[in-house]
Subunit: 166 residues, 2 copies
């Protein structure tokens, strides 16, 4: 399987919420996601990078049409999360992903994706990976260019997936 | 399928590298990952959260025994990434994941995982998700407790996966 990527996918209408300066202690992420679960919001990507000075940032994406209800739910618990915690959001983002069972064994799949996006002058806002999938968040206006760029980079007109690239 | 999670997995011996203050412009992530690809390092998790003030942080994990060769490769390109860029790392981390095809349709799977880790007083250092998998990075000393906690939370003694929880 010299073709590590078999498909690419796009989720056009996403919105992102970011909580900055969360206390980096056990239980904090539960408070955030309990507030959202009560609203029956469908969370897509969840990203947390390592924090510094005992604070961490968590971002997550939801369908664009669920942004308002999510902001209401999160703003309610914001005071209980800590006095330094800030919230930012954007409803102008899309997720672009590449999928492939062969990814875990091959070096450089991420490189090929990042090169495709770099050559197309597309800025990567968020990255999240699993063994069979790499997803990036980009500005919605650049999403179709991003999808076309990765499609070309992995010659996906010639390949099909037996993994559903959701 | 009222059982959204069918399995849990642990990667005990991981190391984490974080680049802080990267220029948040197209092409930056390519420079980082090109440097690593040359060394044939097996990158596992890649996490980038949204940046602020045109800077972003990227973390990635590698097998613990590949940390040294990775640090040498990244340190070589550090100057070309920008004068504010800092590098931190840890070789004391493990990845704990839950896997399940039903996750995408069910609300609150992340909550159940976060609750299990919170009740066990385990601090989450990094989070990355896909439609069928949630992975967290924890301190190695807490990794087995984390795995047991999620195993109990999702009653995994009664369930098996038809998705390989790598
Ligand atoms: C920031 C948040 O993830 C925290 N570390 C927790 O465990 O809940
Ligand atoms: C930070 C890095 O991801 C940058 N935004 C890029 O596109 O390469």
């Amino acid at each position: 399987d010299d073709q590590p990527v078999c498909g690419a996918a796009i989720t056009r209408d996403e919105a992102r919420i970011t909580l900055i300066g969360l206390p980096d202690v056990p239980g904090t992420s539960l408070v955030v996601f309990d507030a959202i679960a009560e609203q029956n919001v469908t969370v897509d990507m969840i990203v947390q990078n390592v924090g510094e000075n005992s604070e961490a940032d968590i971002s997550f994406t939801v369908p664009r049409n669920e942004l308002d209800v999510t902001l209401i739910a999160v703003n309610k618990v914001l005071p209980s999360l800590g006095e330094n915690v800030r919230l930012t959001h954007s409803d102008d983002v899309s997720k672009v992903s590449v999928v492939g069972l062969g990814m875990a064994r091959q070096h450089g799949v991420a490189n090929r994706m990042f090169k495709a996006l770099s050559d197309a002058m597309i800025n990567i806002q968020m990255i999240t990976t699993s063994e069979i999938k790499i997803s990036v968040l980009v500005e919605r206006a650049q999403a179709m260019d991003a999808l076309r760029a990765v499609h070309r980079a992995f010659s996906l007109e010639k390949v099909t997936c037996n993994v559903v690239p959701t």
